[in-house]
Symmetry: C2
Subunit: 212 residues, 2 copies
DNA sequence: TCATAATTGTGAAGATTATAACAAACTTTC
DNA sequence: GAAAGTTTGTTATAATCTTCACAATTATGA
């Protein structure tokens, strides 16, 4: 048997969509689903779904479909979501507040264990059970808790500096919510979110009549 | 000459990144750039950039590079960003407020002409020069102004209903900021933003040590 | 002016991703 | 329990996307 090919990253992105959808089905007490139905819910072809799932090992039953709960566990195991991941959140503007208020962190696999802002008026305020701390406490906090992921929801101009600081104190993954690109040490990981880009893309599709 | 191939959507997504980067260069009064330098700023290979740009017609000069301003215009023309596009923003929670507060809408090519919320306490408040209106005024507003794009930053559960309402009153493009997938009429366009997905993807990459 | 260096644009090759096609496995129905 | 209907998993094929290789063009500097 020839070696199994590594999963494409684009398939991983879809796994995330499948899981999100499956979690809703689970909440709705739906026990099983076929690749066909899942395809209708996610706008992804059934074959594509089965192919993606084949990368993470077979889980379905011919003539039946997939057990929702099982499939969720399977995806989570594959993706390394075997436990709740602790993250710190830097920046308590509207985006930061919105993220801190998000009610499904646990379900999605994360926990915000520290929230930081440099604005004294925000410090000590409690949102969703998390007390906002002064940014000066950040380094100490990281030393104590060894956090490997940080969400940065601060002004673009301050981001690179903050990334450097966090990297120095052991943070390996950065989720940057700004329309910028930063430099990180070679062993670090970054993901970006530019909230406006999808709107530009949408506009293009409307203009060119590309329904996808 | 055989027919020029249509630009891949993935190239369009990169055009958006190039433009974002170029706008910053322009602000910094940098007049020219090579595909190589742009590649370093965006983490995209120089060849890939040149290939992408080739889809929109040649714009560079061999031995020199690209005129920043020219290239921006070229990309904008290609993408149909020939004028500021008017959008309405539904939902004035943290995300909505954050979007309304964004200072670069004009530069990015959009203008928020109407902001709506159903919460009376928020109605009539003015953010960044835009007065928040009661959602009940939405239909009338749409009739008057003929808006084709809406940003929906409301709870997931209310989104489908709101999409239906908007579609009925002529909105063709929907930018949905929620971890859900909605149904739209056949002639409509949707883009989604799930703010948590990139974090899950980041976590996967850290676990599997995929630096990209 | 001419040689050298820099850079673009693109056809062709290579790599990756999606789709089609179908055997195998399971369920349902009679 | 046999036949008909579903649905999966996978190999082969097609489509798409990226990279390579290099001619062509412009800039630079002796």
């Amino acid at each position: 048997m020839r070696e199994k090919k590594r999963i494409p990253l684009i398939s991983v992105e879809r796994l995330i969509i499948y899981r999100r959808c499956l979690l809703k089905l689970k909440q709705a007490a739906i026990a099983k689903i076929s690749s066909n139905s899942l395809g209708k819910l996610t706008n992804i072809t059934a074959v594509n779904i089965r192919k993606d799932l084949s990368y993470i090992g077979e889980t379905g039953k011919p003539g039946f479909g997939y057990q929702v709960k099982e499939l969720i566990v399977h995806i989570e195991k594959f993706m390394g979501m075997d436990h709740i991941h602790k993250v710190v959140l830097i920046g308590m503007g509207n985006i930061g507040a919105s993220l801190l208020n998000y009610q499904n962190w646990q379900i999605r696999g994360f926990e915000i264990v520290g929230a930081f802002d440099k604005d004294k008026r925000k410090v000590n305020r409690v949102i969703n059970g998390v007390k906002i701390q002064n940014c000066r406490r950040l380094q100490n906090f990281l030393k104590k808790h060894s956090i490997s992921i940080a969400i940065l929801a601060i002004p673009a101009g301050e981001t690179q500096k903050k990334v450097n600081e966090l990297a120095e104190f052991g943070v390996k993954g950065f989720y940057i919510i700004s329309p910028i690109i930063v430099n990180v040490p070679k062993d670090c990981f970054v993901e970006y979110l530019d909230m406006i880009s999808p709107l530009e893309f949408l506009m293009f599709r409307i203009k060119k009549n590309i329904l996808k």
